[in-house]
Amino acid sequence: MKFLNLELAWKYVLGRKRAMTMSLFGIVLGIAFFVITQAQTSGFEAFFIRTILGTNGAIRISDSFQDMHGTVRMSSKDGKTKFLFNSREGARYTEGVENPALLRSALSQFSEISGISEILEGKATLAGSSRSQNIEIHGIVPSAHMMVSDIENQIIQGQLKIFELEPMSILLGNRIAHRLMLQTGERVTLKGGTGNIQLRIAGIFETGVSQIDKNRAYIHLSTAKAFLGKRFSGSIFQLSMFNPEKAPEISAQIQEATSHRVISWQEREQVWLDVFKALRISSAITVSSILLLSGLGIFNVFAIMVIEKTRDIAILRSIGFKPSDVSAVFLWQGGIVLFIGIILGCLVAIFSTYVISSIPLRIRGIFSTDSFVVNWDPSHYLWAVLIAIIFVSIASWIPARRAAKIEPAKIIRETL
């Protein structure tokens, strides 16, 4: 008795192989497409996030400001009193971190921060043997910067170790090197700031972010300070975190505590993150329609089946099946198709995702990849399964309810 309803459902499923196969096909496709599209969109998004965290860190602390958010202050100068309403937009900013040592000490109180790198940014002209180009120089302490970025893995030519040991060396973005036809070991001249300095190219890096690769060069912080004439201030801080997801919350706390402008990676890259989010939601909605259609297909099959099987339902009722048993027979049929659909759908999704991840695709611009980037995330499978369960359950429940309401005497009377 225990599995009688399930056994009957199984026999009915086998009895309508073609219709059930079509419904099954819809569920398999729906689940597989859902997972594949989510794996791709979230794969590219995750890769983009890894790239930006690896280049510009989780949090950036730049200018210090004097005014607090939305406060009214009275200031007195030359005997005149002024009332000022201050918001962040209206705050008075001072370029760079005012007291790096003090800030570093304050940041050490935040346990979520895993690395701190002081950076001095400035502009200069890089001259090679035949051509020159305006670039953005970033003065860094290599060992500290390695803690807040992925620079070690971004080196495509030369060695970070050489850069670390040689204060008069430079790391160049690969597109600068390509444009100026420069190789590691060559000497270049950095013009601007307080004068010209000669540096040896220790390495060439590629972040995949074209804006960085064609403009940025790293030099030692001490060299940058001397070259830009900013020995005591003007630098910014780049931070890494154990859990980058918490960056907005920690940024707000740091800003409140240190009166410096603090921007999390989520705020900094909001435009791109919104684009990825929109793509992910849009593809989920589109692909869910396949599951909706297969749900409608199942509804159609079961609705017809209830009409065709009214006599069977009458027999079952006459030999002691309760309305809930009749309903269960139809729900089990949906359950069987759904279960097989989920298993096959997930298998197809795994296989297809694997195949797609090996398709060559060269992308440069916001990140660098030579193949499709996919994200193996169990939550995609869970969502696909959940959506399929909802659609199929509704599609099975309505006809099952109708079947349970059938009056056996009426059916038998009408059949005779």
């Binding site: 008795m1 027999i315 009722r317 030999i319 002691g320 099946f321 048993d325 038998i412 009377r413 005779l416």
Partner: protein, 229 residues
């Protein structure tokens, strides 16, 4: 003096009607009868006289508007759906004109259904079903799909399904209506044999007066009333 037979089913002043648009069509207008153990009873009458409706009322598939039904001396007229479902499974066996087998199942699976429903496991159900099929000469067709059996064979399987749970009452609605003369007689004889051998009460609704005359009791119906018993 012969001992009085046990009354299995008793109906008192049953009334029933169907809604036809705004008006009511009264199909049963005060029917009383009883079915005793070990006897066959036939209900005959013209089409539309209410005999099938009466059968479904007695079989607890429908609820009468008025009147009372006693099964094994218990008034079951107002019993809950759950109780009625249980009674249909354990005390009543139905046989329909069009045999009404589930075509996706084999003969033995069809026969096993009431047993499985009453809680017997699959193996024991099949064993018991096979014994019943053997009694009806259908053991060789036990594993054949229901829709691959002839009309007579299907009706035998339907009878097997009706009696497999050892009910005390068999209700048959035109059990021979879809069979040729030879098979009709075979089915009728079988029902009579079951009534005598297993002490069952058998109530048969039929158009076939020749066959009805073979039963122990004959009830004639017309316009929702019993005109002669």
């Amino acid at each position: 003096m012969t001992p009085s037979k046990k009354i299995l089913l008793k109906a008192e002043e049953l009334h029933h009607s169907f809604a036809e648009g705004v008006r009511k069509n009264r199909v049963i207008k005060g029917v009383s009868l009883q079915v005793e153990a070990g006897e066959t009873t036939a209900v005959v009458g013209p089409s539309g006289c209410g005999k099938s409706t009466l059968l479904y009322l007695l079989g607890l598939l429908d609820r009468p508007e008025n009147g009372r039904i006693f099964l094994h001396d218990s008034d079951v007229t107002q019993s809950s759906d759950k109780t009625k479902t249980q009674l249909r499974n354990q005390s009543i066996g139905f046989i329909f004109q069009f045999h009404f087998l589930i075509k996706e199942l084999t003969a033995i699976e069809n026969v096993s259904l009431p047993l499985r429903k009453s809680g017997l496991n699959a193996e024991d159900s099949k064993e018991k079903s096979m014994l019943v099929l053997q009694k009806l000469g259908m053991e060789s067709k036990a594993n054949r799909s229901a829709n691959k059996l002839s009309g007579g064979e299907q009706q035998r399987v339907a009878i097997a399904r009706a009696i497999v749970n050892s009910p005390s009452l068999i209700l048959a609605d035109e059990p021979t209506g879809n069979l040729d003369s030879e098979n009709s007689h075979k089915v009728f004889d079988l029902l009579q044999e079951l009534a005598e051998r297993d002490n069952l009460g058998v109530l048969i609704v039929t158009h076939n007066t020749d066959l009805a005359l073979k039963t122990d009791n004959l009830i004639r119906m017309q316009d929702g009333l019993i005109i002669r018993a």
